[in-house]
Subunit: 346 residues, 4 copies
């Protein structure tokens, strides 16, 4: 098997699992357990997550990927006639191939600031909806979806999340947080939102594994144990129930042992900062500067062409006919050598 | 982590992966590759599968589980107004929590014989449909779904599959085969259907990994490369696209190296035969006797109670108020010691 | 415009509206009212229906047709993961082109007796479901659907409906009754179920207009006003909200003035009895004899051919290669002359 | 029945049917015909429409309302993974309660100019989509939806429609035109788009009846007879098939006799012009001035309050905290007296 010759900063899911995770999978491999996450290892993992979130009765479900988790949770929470408010840049708005609509729910797009929703934007949307005399002809907003870090790598402050919570309470809509890259928020000095805060302020959120050290997998947390009585069946109905559920349980059991999940993002944050420093020093055009593990750069297309020969990056968007915005991402396993080589190319 | 103290014959997905699969995952763990199955290892695995099926242009997609694979493929093949013909005992009819209906398609149930659909049953259904003057008010059958081995562990003969194919051609409906336990068919002396036959006779089928040596994963094969142009997007829309797709590719690459997949079921078949012999000798009530890795036994409920204290089995169905049908399953890794202990208990 | 030369007994929706209904539409035609059923005529019609049902707070909605009403109500009542129990012969099971599955819900078919569900059949289904240890992998039954008269023209006795209600209470599922031909039940001497009984025993039911004197339209009644808070939006989402809703209101206002709806079926019942008497006297093969306005006859195919030249009938089903079951239906407007001509042909 | 005391300019569907339509319904009321639109009157109506459109093989289907027609056609045309491009102001985007999403399709919103889509806007969207390297993760645009007149009452010029057609051809997407108020376009001197043009340039469009003289009903035209082979079943599946389909046929037969449909909008256009003239003369704030039968006015809220006591209008949108945009609409039957009274109030 040939390894990738180019430097790879395309995203944070290009490698396998954190060695501790793989070790646990190996050690438990030949144990026979119950299926569908009903095994004792998965239960132990759920307990650790409940403890880390300070919600001892929370429902915790392990799913395979982010789009799947979003589609299942949103379908489970919303009534058939409701939609979900999200940023235009939200993952569910743009990069999930219509997975939310596939179960009949509209994504209600609102403007964002650097990838984040403002409480005021949400309030205005909800107020305008209820002020419209014909609102029963319009999709009713039943939930707010945000990402932390956002798709632009920005972070919500605790105060901001509290304000959004207040709007959700005022209009009786749920608040759901997509934590695909949550480890990279938690490891970030700028971040003031803990797992306990999320469990306090959100009706549901997921703790990303795929991008944060697992081979794959996301842990969905619903603090109120009575919120959705039959999520198991809903997961099955979405084709999202893993027969060998313990494979997910083992991974999260490891990630939540010895606070591994809280520390696993630190390397990515440090490495991203090193790249960022060099880019700034060298006057690269950065459309946005954010504190987490994603770095956005606006390249002239011809300059990008030669860069692309040596580095795998993530295409972000066409800026104009002559420029392209790309993304570099670091992860829990990015090495010093990779950083050195990348910096040499900048 | 406490291991399961009881003997476990509940199903064939109670353990992790075949050691060779886990080894390959370990060896490739820190390689960085493209995501979403676009990496070279996944491509290599697809090539091996194409070769094993004798279809060098076949589309091959790796998915996580059986229900998911069924839901995606059936949704991809059917027009919005069509349904799928299946046995009442078919997995999609009864044990997928409505995953097929969730994307808007009706499962059109027809009677079976020991879990198998007869060509004549399908022909009658299709003929009656078109003979009905009001058939445009009825869900149009667009596909036939069968399982090999069936949910009862029975096998289709090549001749039977050809007859079903002929009916499908006559009425222009697709034929799709669920191979969740395909390795246990391929390893069975009674089986005369090869991967090449399946690729020749079916419009789509999947090669089961989860129950046949993989940590998880199924390989969907569509022999005609032009049959569904945008399956990638459809998979994504179903929340079924794995970011680290290479994790699936690595596993199938191993399963299709050195014919491992063709051999991996042999142990289960031999072990099941040993159990079956003892059951017959001891006059147990067997509601059906089939040649693959599943064994069904009708227990009096009080007898079952004591059995259940020592053995984890699969609940199959209530036979009547006083009797229950259970299932024991062997797998690629069932040990001699497990068999010895089980036989001692019978 | 050429009128139909042949005698027409194909169904009970072959003509326009009862003259009183058309008169009301004409008289109100140029009045301007609010749209979407928010007008005062619709409200007056709703009040009359509430009064006739003895439920002064019931929700009443007017929809266009039966399949639409079934699809909307079932989708509104069921949770996303639930299905609806129905007879194999139920309209939603077989003749609605998958409208129920189109919003993601499985129809859970159970056997019937002459088109009717027995309380015991439903109880067994529900008990077996909950007895199955793996029932979370199976579509959860959330509702029972029955028709009165049934698709075979049979009638539930009040006692039978009470038993079904008791099962629904025991297992906490809703009871929904399709009254597409309800007027023909209410006008039948054998019938002992009043509108008040239906409102007492069902969680929802609809009063058929299309087949019972309206130009088109069905009145959906939900006795508990709090059962579905946003049915207006759900109706709109299903494309089932009529802009000039008053057109439906005017019709039901007429049908529920001077007890017209209670009397409108009488003519059909008397006329059907006359046909039935002749058929029995002349030894026709009647696969089922029922007291309402539908008559089923098993014809030899060659005999049917000549009958078909003179009479439009409803195809029911192929009996065997040489025989066909057909249906004749009378309606509120069937004339003595039509009956005389038909009897002459028998 | 009390008639509405206030002047009513709320919309163009507040009255019943054009007298000629009601007369035809009355005259044909007691004729018995086949159901589901298979009767000879409906066929005659379809023939007249085909002739008016210059497409003698076009598929023509009659449906009940606009949202329903949009939902059925869009679901019928799109593949399961595709979405529809529409203006943010498009009816399907904002006022159909998620009917499009309910069958799994995303509405892909793009900016508009006075309610109209520009060819260049569509081209950019499609180009950007295909330029995005990750577009297989995004909902694929399969169709363009426009309204003529637009929701703002503006009209497409023939040249503009040709340009949009060219973009659709370039990117192989369908073009669908919502003609809910088409009669008001056809009667407008500014309009240069005939029915033949629409049939030439669109893959599907519907001729609005509900707002244009019918009691209810829309005529869906698909010029290519082979475009959707099973639309009948799809309509049934959507709960949109009317049993007494001839009720729709009779109405369109009348509307397409003696060019009634081409003339029926003239009165509304003239009356709207009279109102518009007065508003301009009196310096009302008009957020947009368009040539068809809808008039938009920005009122100060306190001024609106007294206006509302005498006139039923349509709420359009909050302009700001102190102002509201309302809509007045004329129709085929607006009387001189109504106009006089309204003008007196201005």
């Amino acid at each position: 098997m040939k390894t990738n010759e180019k430097l790879c900063f395309a995203s944070d899911y290009m490698k396998g699992a954190h060695p501790a995770v793989l070790k646990a999978l190996t050690e438990t491999n030949l144990i026979k357990t119950k299926g569908y996450g009903l095994d004792s290892i998965s239960e132990q993992a759920r307990e650790k997550i409940r403890k880390a979130c300070g919600k001892h009765e929370a429902q915790v479900f392990f799913l395979v990927g982010g789009t799947q988790t979003n589609a299942v949770l949103i379908d489970a929470f919303l009534e058939s006639y409701q939609g979900v408010i999200a940023s235009e840049s939200g993952h569910i708005s743009s990069h999930e191939a219509g997975a939310i609509e596939a179960s009949g729910h509209k994504v209600l797009c609102v403007p964002h600031e650097s990838g984040k929703l403002q409480a005021e934007t949400i309030r205005r949307y909800l107020k305008d909806f209820y002020d419209d005399e014909n609102h029963e002809h319009i999709v009713a907003p039943g939930m707010v979806y945000i990402s932390h870090p956002s798709e632009y790598g920005t972070l919500y402050k605790k105060e901001e999340l509290k304000e959004i919570r207040a709007v959700c309470d005022e209009y009786k809509v749920d608040l759901y947080l997509d934590g695909a890259r949550l480890a990279y928020a938690l490891a970030c000095p700028e971040n003031d939102l803990t797992l306990r805060d999320l469990a306090e302020l959100c009706d549901a959120f997921y703790i990303g594994g795929t991008k944060c050290g697992a081979l794959f997998g996301e842990a969905l947390v619903i603090p109120d144990p009575k919120r959705v009585p039959h999520l198991f069946s809903i997961i099955k109905q979405h084709g999202a129930l893993v027969a060998k559920g313990r494979v997910l349980g083992v991974q999260f059991d490891t990630l939540f042992s010895d606070d591994l999940y809280l520390r696993i993002g630190e390397n990515a944050i440090k490495k991203a900062a090193q790249i960022r420093d060099v880019l700034i020093k060298k006057d690269y055009r950065l459309p946005i500067v954010t504190p987490t593990n994603q770095i956005f750069i606006t390249f002239a297309n011809d300059q990008l062409k030669s860069f692309a020969e040596k580095v795998d990056y993530g295409f972000w968007e066409k800026y104009d006919e002559d420029h392209t915005v790309i993304r570099l991402a670091t992860d829990w396993g990015t090495t010093d050598e990779e950083i050195r080589k990348l910096i040499d190319l900048l």
